[in-house]
């Protein structure tokens, strides 16, 4: 869902390696009374204010809104004081967390992207939240959509909770659809591929003046995964004992996207020119498969047409959507006497009112049922209502994100297909072999 972060992931991997090699000498997480260098001065005793640190990513409104929520939390009570600190992009945040963890420090609560959940859990960075979720001061998760709660579930614990949840959004050019005689956005993926062809306009000399669809440069796998799942395909099971990058459905779906490119009905743009969003906004592409992220930009800056939103199409297996965004975690470096306070803060961030506020400010979704009720006014807007209609179909399975072996192999394969015109079956067979080989080197090899 985020930008390609292979370099940063590599770096994170390096840090992990260092962590392991330096493991003998590195001070373990201060288990109790070890003289940990004092970060927050006040000890949490009766009457004293408990100080917590919260780290987050997301610059711009999506980050500012988190700072605002923290301020609101601080004002809402006297016992806990949280300071909120921006730590760069998702990859930067992860690097910082790991480095601080190695030194036995870091924040008590942090935002965390989906790529690192499994690695961090395995390294013992993340606190099991189950006792808090089910405790007296717990959270009722019965109205959480899809399988979002499963994303942070390992063994018998829950180590990560969704916070900034993005859903897939199909943006389309209303006038282009009318011109092509298409009645509304595509309902199925087959319709989507047909519509893309109909929407394509070429001039007399055969040059494309409008593409049916522009693919996301770098992280298009995020969109393709929804198509693959909707058509009943799988890339891997959750514990990587059955990687299926060359599954017939995967081959079929990637082939269909490639055919559009070959016919000039789709384009794989480069990032520098504003990418797929730029091409959509200036009318060069009639559809894009994206997230709610650019909603504001697209509505405000589109040139000479009416931009509309729709959900991703359905496939043979119905609608199965790949979520994006990130969540929040408690870190194991949190001293025991601060854990309850940390949970109180997390609960505040996940309260219906907070999520509704955050959705309105950031463009992420008010993803729980109660949050949608709290965001009543926002959802009066038909476009927001459409975006939120995708929530029940979310499949919170980030296993592809979490394994660098699987993710990199798949990314290399489809990029080879799109950019170099490689044969789909062959590229995916190679990716399959590569993923099975490289998974053995990962900390969570099956």
């Amino acid at each position: 869902m985020k930008n390609p972060r292979s370099l940063i992931t590599l770096l994170a991997a390096l840090v992990v390696m260092l962590l392991i090699t330096a493991g003998c000498t590195a001070p373990a997480a201060p288990a109790g009374g070890e003289a940990a260098p004092s970060e927050a001065s006040a000890p949490a005793e009766g009457g004293e204010v408990i100080e917590l640190t919260y780290w987050h990513t997301n610059p711009g409104p999506a980050g500012d809104a988190q700072d605002e929520l923290v301020d609101m939390f601080n004002e809402s009570q006297d016992a806990i004081q949280v300071s909120s600190e921006f730590q760069g992009g998702y990859g930067d945040l992860a690097t910082n967390l790991l480095t601080a963890f190695a030194a036995g420090g870091g924040p008590e609560v942090s935002q965390l992207g989906t790529f690192e959940i499994r690695e961090f859990w395995k390294s013992g960075v993340l606190e099991d939240l189950t006792p808090y979720l089910n405790g007296d001061n717990g959270i009722d998760t019965s109205d959480w959509p899809g399988t979002m709660l499963d994303a942070g579930k390992f063994d018998d614990g829950i180590y990560w909770l969704p916070f900034n949840v993005a859903v897939p959004v199909l943006y389309y050019n209303k006038e282009a659809f009318e011109e092509a005689g298409i009645d509304g956005p595509p309902e199925t993926w087959d319709e989507f591929f047909e519509d893309a062809r109909k929407l394509t306009v070429k001039d007399d000399s055969g040059n494309v003046t409008r593409y049916g669809v522009a693919y996301i440069p770098g992280w298009f796998s995020w969109a393709m995964q929804s198509a693959i799942w909707s058509e009943g395909g799988e890339l891997t099971n959750k514990d990587y004992t059955n990687i299926t990058l060359n599954d017939p459905v995967v081959v079929e779906v990637v082939s269909k996207f490639k055919e559009l490119l070959d016919e000039g009905a789709a384009i794989y743009p480069d990032q520098a020119s504003g990418g797929h969003r730029g091409m959509f906004m200036n009318g060069q592409a009639a559809m894009i498969l994206d997230s709610p992220g650019p909603f504001g930009d697209i509505m405000e800056n589109s040139q000479g047409f009416t931009p509309m939103v729709a959900n991703y199409p359905a496939g043979k297996a119905g609608k199965v959507y790949n979520p994006g965004g990130g969540g929040i975690v408690m870190l194991t470096v949190t001293p025991d006497d601060k854990k309850d306070a940390a949970w109180t803060f997390m609960k505040y961030m996940l309260s219906p009112e907070s999520l509704a506020y955050y959705a309105e400010r950031s463009g992420y979704t008010a993803f729980t049922g109660a949050a949608q009720e709290a965001a009543g006014d926002l959802l009066q807007d038909e476009r927001y209502a459409t975006i939120h209609a995708a929530l029940p179909y979310l499949r919170g399975d980030f296993s592809v994100n979490m394994s660098p072996a699987v993710r990199t192999a798949f990314d290399e394969a489809w990029q080879k297909v799109f950019v170099e015109g490689a044969d789909v079956q062959q590229a995916l067979d190679e990716a399959q072999a590569k993923a099975e080989e490289n998974i053995k080197d990962e900390t969570f090899a099956p």
Binding site: M1, K2, N3, L11, L14, V15, L18, L19, A22, A26, P27, P37, T53, W55, N58, P59, G60, P61, A62, G63, S83, E85, F86, Q87, G88, G89, D92, T95, N96, T99, A100, A102, A103, G104, G105, P107, A166, I216, G218, W219, S273, G274, G275, R277, G278, M279, M281, N282, Q284, S291, G293, P294, D297, E300, N301, Q303, G324, G325, S362, G363
Partner: protein
């Protein structure tokens, strides 16, 4: 006068063309190198709708100077400026001072295991910064330096590259001068400060510039060792403008922010460039 005039004209014309060639080439190179800066500048004053327009426009139709205000307000850039300047200047000074003394010792003083030591200094250049992140962080944590200026200034202060450059430069100095100084009874410190330093001023300026730019642009180290907004430096300020959500960039604000970051370096370059030229010409006249 007649034939002489024609001769001169023809001569001048020919030499003019010959003289123009390098200028034409330099102009071309300047355009190629200047293009990204030009693009940054015009993008920084365009509204977003003009950035994504196709075909792209060279000159903005609407000049939107608010981009600069918005970029400035997106993060506490004033604080970032102070931090970048303080840590950049301090580290550069330390780097240059250390390098001066070390290079002098390696070139002009004989002591046992000199080559081995020099090799050890150079070897530190081969270790990627990423390898040093965690050990350095652990050390800083023990010293209580995390999230302080010390963390930004001290670890990068010892750097092998300036040592290496000055070492190479000092080696080209005529040994007779050193001998003369010795005969006059100058101590090593006097030789270093009165003879070696003035003679290598352009080199020092170059080393200082490279050191300063290195610190100024550094992203990873300041990101790791600081974790509050008040301690952050300019490149991290740019991260506030980048990827505002899921890969969406406000290009105009990002470019306006880039201008903030680049302008001091450009000014610094203009000044140090004077130093280069001065150093080169003064040497030439005397020679």
């Amino acid at each position: 006068m007649g034939s002489g005039f024609w001769h001169n004209l023809r001569y001048n014309w020919r030499s003019g063309v010959e003289a123009a060639w390098p200028f034409a080439l330099l102009t071309l190179i300047a355009i190629v190198l200047g293009m990204p800066f030009f693009w940054m500048l015009i993008t920084s004053v365009k509204p977003l709708s003009e950035i994504i327009i196709y075909p792209p426009r060279f000159l903005p139709q609407d000049v939107r100077l608010e981009n600069y205000v918005e970029a400035w307000n997106a993060a506490p850039f004033d604080r970032f400026y102070i931090n970048s300047i303080v840590t950049g200047v301090a580290t550069t000074l330390l780097q240059v001072i250390f390098a001066l003394f070390m290079a002098y010792a390696f070139v002009f003083i004989n002591f046992p295991k000199k080559d081995l030591l020099f090799l050890a200094v150079l070897a530190t250049m081969m270790i990627p910064i990423e390898m040093k992140l965690v050990p350095n962080y652990l050390l800083l944590k023990k010293l209580g330096w995390v999230n302080t200026y010390w963390a930004l200034i001290i670890p990068p202060a010892a750097h092998a590259f300036p040592v290496f450059v000055l070492y190479q430069g000092f080696k080209t100095l005529p040994i007779e001068l050193m001998d003369a100084a010795k005969v006059d009874g100058a101590t090593h410190t006097q030789t270093l400060l009165r003879i070696v330093t003035p003679m290598t001023r352009p080199l020092l300026a170059a080393v200082a510039l490279v050191s300063f730019v290195g610190r100024w642009n550094d992203y990873l180290w300041p990101l790791i060792v600081t974790n509050t907004v008040a301690m952050r430096t300019l490149p991290i300020g740019l991260a506030y403008l980048k990827d505002t959500q899921e890969g969406g960039n406000r290009w105009n604000l990002l470019m306006a922010g880039s201008v903030f970051v680049i302008v001091p370096i450009l000014i610094l370059f203009v000044f140090t460039q004077k130093q280069f030229v001065e150093g080169i010409t003064s040497g030439a006249v005397k020679g």
